[in-house]
């Protein structure tokens, strides 16, 4: 049986992890390579590295970081943040990334999804979608969820699948940071409508939330950041809990 995946997300700025990280056992919790390695050992199924570096010059450090991660870590990882061209993707995949994720740039120029999928295969192209519900309608947002667009989330998800996306990373801006649970409604709606996997993100606060997003939310994978970084939920405990609850999981 194919298992549900648990994916910690590491935010990277200028080659270092941001968001306070609380790991006593690490010499340097700001080092994405060390933190990623620890998560892999703890049983994370994949990792996502999200680069939030603002300037173009400093983005070169991302390729160097990806090389270090690929040399060290023996589970798959996705790299996202500011990727907008086929050349960006090529450099990151050549450095050893397994997948890349695109977000705002795909909204701006949807045809880049087709180009990237044709060049590198759908299996390594993740389209990240930030969604927010406005008066009962789900709209795609860009720029870290700050900028609303006129695209309806459900329609955009279907469109990027048809353009060649291999997975959808769906973040609910309504739930992100609330710790009140994932957005199971829209996650389930999109996961049922699409024939590609959906990674749910935003709102994880308790172990039950993961069970809910895998059952009610029909997610194929669940992503979270701070609850792992602050050790509010250790990954081994989470996986043992999900296993007891009957969720198919890699132990």
């Amino acid at each position: 049986m194919l298992t549900k995946r648990i994916i910690p997300c590491l935010d990277i700025k200028d080659g270092r992890t941001v968001k306070g990280v609380n790991f006593v056992e690490l010499r340097d919790a700001g080092d994405p390579v060390e933190l990623g390695k620890l998560y892999a050992l703890e049983g994370a199924d994949e990792l996502v590295f999200l680069d939030i570096t603002a300037t173009v010059e400093k983005r070169k450090t991302l390729v160097e970081l990806v090389t270090k991660v690929a040399k060290t870590i023996n589970i798959p990882f996705t790299v996202g943040g500011g990727i907008s061209t086929v050349e960006d993707v090529k450099a990151l995949l050549n450095a050893g990334a397994d997948k890349i994720s695109v977000n705002s740039s795909a909204v701006k120029h949807p045809e880049i999804v087709d180009q990237m999928a044709a060049e590198f295969g759908s299996q390594c192209i993740v389209v990240a979608i930030d969604t927010k519900n406005i008066d009962g309608v789900d709209f795609v947002h860009t720029h870290g969820g700050r900028k609303p667009t006129l695209k309806i989330t459900q329609e955009w998800a279907k469109e990027v699948m048809e353009r060649g996306a291999g997975e959808i990373l769906l973040t609910s801006m309504d739930h992100d940071g609330t710790k009140s649970g994932f957005a199971n409604g829209i996650t389930s709606e999109i996961s049922s409508a699409l024939s590609i996997p959906v990674i749910a993100s935003g709102g994880a606060g308790k172990m039950e939330h993961f069970k809910d997003v895998f059952t009610a939310g029909k997610a194929d994978a669940a992503l979270a950041a701070s609850i792992f970084h602050f050790k509010e939920i250790p990954i081994p405990d989470l996986k043992a809990y999900l296993d007891r609850e009957g969720v198919t999981i890699r132990i």
Partner: protein, 194 residues
């Protein structure tokens, strides 16, 4: 120990080289026939599309070279599929080491099959000491059918398919050992020890 990783137009070979490095093996990405012939072990990695991969191999006569090799050989992912006889992917005649057909997954569930799945019915030294629940990481839309003699491990996704194949010096694995955490590391270690 000299490991040759066959260089062709397939993606994600870097991870295989890094995995070898982590195990202390000297691995070289190469399409030079002499280097491949003289290597102790040969790895045939890959992610990509069958038809263009076979075309690339034939143009460089790497197809005949692979068929003639005698040292332990490990095909990974697309590498496994290319070692079979035929792939439905763009109606492609492959290398024919294994008399097996490669088919597309039915659309009943999500395709590609992406994520961690269990290796079952394992019977080979390549898979010794894997522990109780050997999970491996998969990313693929096509699968090799089961063979009564050459299938040495199965995985289930909608149906049972060949997770690993073995015939003489040729081994092949559909999942990515280089991305399969400690299970994958053990399999690669076992391969290097053959």
């Amino acid at each position: 120990m000299q490991v040759a990783v066959i260089k062709y137009n397939a993606g994600n070979v870097r991870s295989v080289l890094y995995a070898m490095e982590r195990l202390g093996a000297k691995a070289e990405l190469t399409d030079d026939p002499d280097t491949i012939l003289q290597a102790d072990k040969v790895i045939f990695p890959g992610q990509g599309e069958a038809k263009s991969a076979m075309k690339y191999l034939r143009e460089r006569e790497l197809d005949q070279l692979i068929q003639s090799l005698k040292q332990p050989f490990l095909g990974i992912c697309l590498g496994l599929q290319l070692l079979c006889e035929y792939s439905e992917e763009k109606d492609t005649t492959c290398l024919g080491i294994f008399p097996i057909q490669v088919k597309k997954f039915p659309a009943r569930e999500k395709v590609p099959h992406i994520g961690w799945n269990l290796l079952t019915d394992t019977s080979t030294p390549l898979l010794s000491d894997l522990g109780e629940n050997p999970f491996a990481y998969y990313v693929h839309s096509y699968y090799a059918e089961l063979h009564p003699e050459f299938t040495i491990a199965k995985t289930h996704y909608m149906l049972d398919f060949s997770a690993l194949l073995h015939r003489d010096n040729f081994f092949a694995m559909q999942a990515h050992p280089e991305k399969s955490s400690l299970t994958g590391e053990k399999i690669l270690k076992n391969f290097l020890a053959l």
